[in-house]
């Protein structure tokens, strides 16, 4: 067995309760602390790693073989950097093969200064997190010990949100017509609490102009007409995004159509008198079944959240619920075009089954929005 000194030198994941998992480092040689969570999707690690909702978290992937197809160009990422604090896998593949590959996963993580470990029993780790709930942990590389830090105490949304307003137009893809603005294009304001790029893509694909604004922007003070608002996904505890919650109230007063996604669902609920709570180990997978309340229709969704809506605000009804644990998966205003979903209709990674949510919303919002 290992002696104390050898053990000290090994790369390891240490959980708050003292459990240690030894591993082999394949990322940046750097120690980090974060909240340890697991995700069960079998494809889409580049998308997951760049999803800002994972900010502050050490991600454990339950699918054991990771790195197979390397990492694609930046334009395929969900944000412009790796968002997780650290990565844990069972079997890292350093010999990827794919036509769209730009670099290896390990190379990328090193470049982005993200530590990553190959520990063998990720299943044990997962079971632990499932039974005891997500917990704080740290990846320690080398001898120097670091402290546990709870990312949920930080305002993660503020950290990952855009600092300035920017616009994206539905330019035709054809190079010949590049630059020609389309007339009569409607404007969606997207409140960036940690937005995944595919939300932008899915809106732009519907011929909409998207203006992305920081998380704390007061929409009612903007100088241009806003046809509808989308509140994005994002990391951490929704209670921390107080300013967004305040601003949602103002949007409601103005009766601007609104769609919340993931964190957006929780923020909408909180703004209008609902409540949220922390799930034991969250939903982080691409196979979450949600049922549309009052129907027999069920959809497979991608989810990535640790908090959920408990009390549904007045004048709202439950739109979707989770078929496995009955937690709330979406709410809808009884009369206004205001609604939100806990899952990711933009997928990426994951199944494309609920892309219709965008059409549904845009139609309710009276915005021309066919693909």
């Amino acid at each position: 067995m290992l002696n104390k000194k050898q053990e000290k030198n090994l790369a390891k994941l240490i959980l708050k309760d003292g459990t240690k998992f030894f591993g082999k480092s394949f990322g940046a040689m750097q120690s980090i602390s974060g909240e340890v969570v697991f995700a069960t999707g079998m494809v889409g690690y580049p998308e997951a790693l760049t999803d800002p909702s994972f900010a502050g978290q050490i991600l454990v992937l339950t699918y054991p073989i990771i790195g197979n197809y390397g990492v694609p160009e930046k334009k395929f990422w969900e944000s412009d950097k790796v968002q997780v604090s650290g990565l844990i896998v069972c079997d890292y593949i350093d010999t990827p093969s794919h036509f769209a590959m730009q670099m290896k996963l390990g190379e990328w993580l090193k470049k982005e200064k993200i530590p990553a470990l190959e520990i063998k029993d990720t299943r044990l780790l997962t079971q632990k997190l499932r039974n005891e709930g997500v917990m704080l942990g740290k990846i320690q590389i080398g001898k120097r010990a670091i402290k546990f830090e709870d990312p949920n105490k930080r305002n993660l949304v503020a950290e990952v949100s855009t600092k300035k307003i920017y616009e994206i137009y539905p330019y035709p893809v054809s190079p010949y017509s590049r630059g020609r603005r389309k007339e009569g294009v409607k404007t969606i304001v997207l409140i960036d609490c940690g937005v995944k790029q595919n939300i932008v893509h899915r809106l732009v694909a519907r011929n909409l102009k998207v203006i992305i604004v920081p998380w704390n922007t007061d929409i009612t003070k903007l100088k241009f007409t806003v046809d509808a608002v989308v509140i994005s996904n994002g990391p951490g505890d929704p209670q921390k995004a107080k300013m967004t919650i305040q601003n949602i109230k103002k949007i409601m007063e103005k009766k601007i159509p609104l769609l919340g996604i993931c964190l957006g669902n929780q923020l909408l609920a909180l703004a209008l008198g609902g409540t949220t709570y922390k799930l034991k180990f969250g939903h982080r997978s691409q196979n979450q079944p949600v049922v549309e309340r009052g129907t027999k229709k069920c959809y497979l969704t991608t989810q990535n959240h640790g908090f959920a809506v408990k009390k549904i605000p007045r004048d709202f009804k439950e739109w979707f619920y989770n078929a496995n644990d009955n937690t709330n998966e979406g709410i809808m205003h009884k009369s206004l075009p205001v609604m939100s979903v806990q899952f990711h209709p933009e997928s990426s990674p994951g199944p494309l089954d609920t892309d219709w949510i965008f059409d549904f919303f845009l139609k309710k919002a009276n915005i021309y929005g066919k693909k």
């Binding site: 044990l124 979450q288 229709k297 497979l300």
Partner: protein
């Protein structure tokens, strides 16, 4: 519970196992029936496959052992009047039968609802041309193609699309008769062959080196859809999925590809309004150009859609733990995915897509070497006879496990017997069952990955993984050579890379046991992990387990001494098939009687035994000593049953008991006394029991001395074989010399034995169960063919029809002696030859035999239950009841799929399955049974006879007269015709195969005859001679099987068949259920 409107449902099975349609349908039918029983629906099953679990009494309310064709199914419908029918659980056979019934308006006539997918959709997916049109309409890409009904049409299409072309056949399965044409000549050959079995061919662009990806989709009546699993073929497009190494989930697809194809499959399934299960096969371009710009730009094509349970869905079920067939059956009843409980977690429901935290590798099992002359290439037409599935936490671990499971002879991908680089290159270039090993060999030889990739089209990702295995092996070997030490780190790495103890031992010059001990000393033991469908996300009550070295904990606690481990049979192959799975499952179930918990170990995804609800615990693992020992030690050494899974687990007896594992039943040393020819022979001599004279020799002089004394013919074989591999009848010295040269290479560890080959002897099977050397229950069955046709290929009848009471008496007393001497406890089988009322023992197997389920069902006695009772000393003697009906079992051959193989009965087994039917007498049962394994046309009153040798001709004379009196027109080849004419039998002479038309081949190809009798004298030419394959007889036989015309190559069977024909017409065959024959 959800209410449903159905009271009685008819389920169609798939009949005898054949290449392309095998055990997977026993699994799917069984699951479907379980689902129906749960809803308290009365279930009627039609399936003549008596060795299946689905035909057990436990499942269906009524079983009809009848051919699955429109005639018999209609009769059963008229009798039973079910209100629903399920067509999608019996493979292509059931589906085609359903389509025929639909076209005849039978369902309407009897007001039967077809459960599951609409029949129009099924029709659409089966018609390749219409289906391509349909897909184009919904914007799903299909390869440029056209359909043709003649060669002229085909040529036109070919000119339009350009070569190379893929030719595919409508309404067929397993890619039968399909192929790649690079020019007009090849096109003609393939199209003509295809049109012989199907009215339509589809000609399409050959998609060179595309990836082949499959999705398994389920959809309910409400339109809820999930894809339960996707799978990636390691072999690129062009190798049938059934012959490909398959990996689940896909390894080389990124999110966009995975979900893009998933969305396409959902769109297709939605457009077809599938209710239940559906399989979609894709071709995906690995190097698209220009590069796709975001979504919707994947470069892919749909290859085909199967609107039914399939081999792939069985694999997907086992790979994920999602019981596809069970769910599909419930969906067919109108339930929604939300209403069906997830059987594994028991807390979630069936609307979800399993998340795997392991990887699964399937490798096909081929038996091409068993078919003399069969072409070794694999391609778009399936040739494998079985498969294995391995589960691991790294690809290397799973792949190496699968390699070991596949044949039981190979320890690692790096084991390969290639002679030189040239040979490696050849096996890389031409796809064969050995290609996987050529990959490793090429890498070892220093070929570049790029080069191998270019030759094979196999994705670099897979090649890197194999390279990793090769590198680790080389590194270890070097390291070990230097310091003779194997440290813990290296040991763990080797185990995580999937190396077996035995392989490590070989590399390090140690024994397997030494490595095992060292490993245990280092505390390197596999972890027991569960398959829970959700990657550990929810606590699951699952008993579905596998072993891995990528873990530090166990998911379960040992069951302990109150459990019993039952070893399954491994992959289906010639000589070991569904009958052993039946025995294994029946045994596991019977353990309940003794209040024991059952643990099954097996690695074959097409079985019922690997359904996790058939036992208290299932290990989807290899049946090697190492794995069985590891599991056993983890479980705190429960006793083992090794005698119900066929020869494979039986072979472990010595090693397991040598290491002090407790084996239930007959002692290992007694098993050895039965299997070791020398010991067994001595035992027979001691007991004064006759056996064919034999010796075992190590040099040719000994052999010659024997033949001089005993004369030819002789039977030459090595010991310890199951199904006649490397067994040969030699009629002269030259043949003997030639063969021994080859056999000695085959098995240097065992001496070669040579025995007197007894001609014209009767062969009888004695199956039974004994307890402490006393007979508890037994049955005797009779071969219709004489000895010389392998018992697995023989037509067998129960009860015996032409056996003297005195012979049976002798058999019984001989058996009692043997059983007593060997202190047999548990199942056994003895094979006898009888000549002039003198029985000779040719073989004793101290395990359940192939005939076990046949006899159990025929005698209505559960042999496995008696066996289990005997293991615990609690069996009671069962008294014999003479049955009311007669059962005949017929072999099912798959020659049509094996290009170049000679369809003739020999001492080596070549059938892939069997069917059995009951009748009021021998003739009726025989006829039904033959109808179950052949497509016989009663209306066509013409026959082609080609009888070799004077003796056969003379012996056939009466039968020929019978044919005439039945109104048959006889076509006969030259000497046969001459002989008939001399004997005043009217016949039409046909020319030899290659003479001017019309010749024998034309007669067959134009389907002018209902069947062909071709008897050839075997003793003059060696059956394995290259020359022989060029003969007329060979071409005639090939033509018959290629055109699906029943072929008889055995005198006794042909005579029996024609006699039966003279007594029964189609209409005279009774439609009676199994129960009715018993009571």
């Amino acid at each position: 519970m959800v209410k449903n409107k159905f009271k009685k449902i008819l389920v169609l099975g798939s009949g005898a196992l054949k290449i392309g349609e095998a055990g997977e349908f026993d699994y799917s039918g069984s699951q479907a029936m379980k689902a129906l029983k749960e809803e308290k629906i009365q279930v009627i099953l039609i399936n003549p496959n008596i060795a299946t679990f689905q035909t057990s009494k436990a499942l269906a309310d009524e079983v009809y052992f009848l051919p699955v064709n429109d005639y018999f199914v209609e009769k059963v419908i008229a009798k039973e009047r079910p209100d629903g029918i399920m067509l999608s659980f019996g493979g292509q056979t059931a589906l085609n039968c359903g389509l025929a019934l639909h076209q005849k308006g039978i369902f309407k006539k009897y007001k039967i609802e077809v459960l599951g997918s609409p029949i129009l959709s099924i029709e659409l997916t089966e018609d390749r041309e219409k289906f391509a049109e349909h897909l184009r309409k919904i914007n799903i890409p299909v390869p440029p193609s056209g359909s043709a009904k003649s060669f002229t049409e085909a040529k036109k299409i070919a000119e339009k699309i350009g070569y190379p072309l893929m030719i595919r056949v409508a309404f067929a399965l397993g890619g039968q008769k399909s192929g790649v044409a690079k020019n007009t000549k090849e096109l003609e050959e393939i199209v003509k062959g295809a049109l012989a079995i199907s009215p339509q061919v589809l000609i399409e662009k050959y998609l060179h080196h595309f990836k082949e990806i499959e999705y398994e989709v389920v959809r309910d009546l409400e339109g809820n859809v999930v894809t339960v699993c996707n799978m990636e073929n390691l072999d690129p497009l062009g190798i049938h999925t059934g012959d490909s190494i398959v990996v689940a989930p896909s390894q080389t697809l990124n999110n966009e590809e995975y979900h893009g194809l998933r969305e396409a499959s959902i769109k297709i399934v939605e457009s077809l309004k599938i209710v239940g299960e559906c399989n979609v096969q894709f071709a995906l371009n690995p190097h698209p150009s220009p590069l796709p710009k975001g979504e919707g730009a994947l470069d892919y094509f749909v290859i085909e859609v199967n609107a039914r349970l399939s081999r792939s869905s069985a694999l997907a079920s086992k790979a994920t733990g999602y019981p596809l067939a069970f769910v599909a059956a419930k969906l067919g009843l109108g339930q929604t995915l939300l209403e069906i409980e997830n059987k594994i977690t028991k807390v979630t429901q069936s609307f979800f897509e399993p998340a795997l935290d392991y990887v699964v590798v399937k490798i096909p099992r081929w038996d091409l070497a068993k078919f003399v002359g069969a072409v070794e290439h694999i391609g778009s037409a399936m040739k494998s006879v079985g498969e294995v599935m391995a589960i691991g936490r790294s690809f290397e671990e799973a792949l190496q496990k699968a390699v070991r499971m596949q044949s039981g002879l190979v320890e690692s991908v790096t084991d390969n017997g290639f002679q030189n680089k040239k040979e490696v290159l050849k096996f890389l270039t031409i796809p064969t069952p050995r290609r996987l090993f050529a990959l490793a060999a090429g890498l070892k030889d220093g070929m570049s990955l790029k080069q191998i990739h270019k030759l094979t089209g196999i994705d670099l990702w897979f090649l890197y993984r194999i390279e990793n295995i090769v590198k680790i092996e080389i590194k270890f070997k070097k390291q070990f050579k230097k310091n003779k030490k194997l440290n813990k780190e290296t040991m763990l790495l080797l185990k995580q890379t999937g190396f077996s103890d035995k392989k490590i031992a070989d590399l390090g010059g140690k024994t397997e046991i030494q490595i095992r001990q060292l490993r245990k000393h280092m505390a390197i033991l596999p972890s027991v992990f569960a398959i829970d469908t959700l990657a550990g996300e929810v606590p699951a009550k699952t008993n579905y387990l596998y072993l891995t070295y990528h873990g530090t904990h166990h998911d379960v606690a040992p069951l302990g001494r109150n459990a019993v481990i039952v070893l399954g049979g491994g992959p289906y192959h010639i000589g070991s098939s569904v009958e052993f799975d039946w025995s294994c499952v029946s045994t596991a179930l019977a353990l309940k009687r003794q209040k024991k918990k059952s643990i099954i170990i097996n690695c074959n995804p097409e079985t019922v035994s690997t359904d996790y609800d058939m036992s208290d615990r299932l290990y989807f693992e290899n049946l090697s000593f190492e794995t069985v020992a590891d599991i056993s030690e983890f479980e705190n050494a429960p006793p083992l049953i090794i005698s119900v899974g066929g020869q494979k687990p039986n072979n472990l007896a010595k090693q397991l008991s040598g290491e002090n594992f407790q084996i239930l039943g007959t002692k290992a040393s007694d098993i050895d006394r039965a299997e070791d020819r020398n010991k067994f022979s001595m035992l027979l001599d001691q007991l004064n029991i006759l056996q064919p004279k034999w010796i075992s020799f190590t040099n040719m002089n000994q052999a010659l001395k024997f033949t001089e004394a005993e004369g030819f013919p002789v039977l030459v074989r090595p010991s310890y074989v199951l199904s006649g591999s490397a067994m040969r009848v030699c009629y002269n010295r030259e043949q003997l010399f030639n063969f021994v040269k080859k056999a000695a290479v085959l098995s240097p560890l065992h001496p070669v034995t040579i025995s007197k080959y007894i001609e014209n002897a009767k062969e009888l099977e004695f199956d039974g169960v004994a307890q402490d050397g006393a007979l508890m229950i037994y049955g005797i069955s009779e071969h219709i063919e004489n000895a010389g046709v392998h018992s697995g290929d023989a037509t067998i009848v129960y009860p015996t029809q032409r056996v003297y009471a005195s012979t049976e008496f002798q058999l019984r007393s001989i058996t009692k002696k043997i059983v007593k001497e060997l202190a047999v406890t548990g199942p056994f089988n003895i094979q006898f030859l009888v000549k002039d009322n003198k029985p000779f023992v040719i073989e004793v197997n101290l395990r359940a035999s192939r005939t076990f389920p046949l006899l159990s069902k025929a005698m209505d006695a559960n042999f496995p239950e008696v066996a289990v009772d005997s293991f615990f000393g609690r069996a009671k003697k069962l008294h014999f009841k003479y049955p009311k009906g007669v059962v005949v079992k017929s072999p099912q051959f798959s020659f049509a799929r094996l290009l170049g193989a000679d369809p003739v009965l020999r001492i080596e087994m070549s059938s892939t399955g069997e069917a059995a039917c009951f009748g009021r007498d021998y003739d009726e049962a025989l006829l039904k049974s033959i109808l179950s394994t052949n497509q016989f046309d009663f209306k066509n009153k013409a026959v082609l006879l080609s009888l070799g040798g004077d003796l056969y001709k003379a012996k056939f004379l009466d039968t020929a007269n019978t044919l005439i009196s039945l109104g048959y027109k006889i076509f006969a080849t030259d000497t046969t015709a001459e002989f008939f004419k001399n004997n005043k039998i009217k016949c039409k002479t046909v020319r030899k195969a290659f003479e001017a038309t019309p010749n024998a081949l034309n007669i067959i190809e134009s389907k002018k005859v209902a069947f062909v009798v071709n008897l050839s004298v075997a003793n003059k030419v060696n059956e394995h001679d290259e020359k022989r394959r060029g003969t007329d007889g060979f071409h005639l036989r090939r033509a018959a099987v290629d055109n699906q015309i029943p072929l008889f190559t055995d005198l006794h069977l042909a005579r029996a068949f024609i006699k039966a024909l003279s007594r029964y017409g189609m209409k005279d065959l009774e439609i009676k259920s199994y129960r009715e024959y018993l009571h």
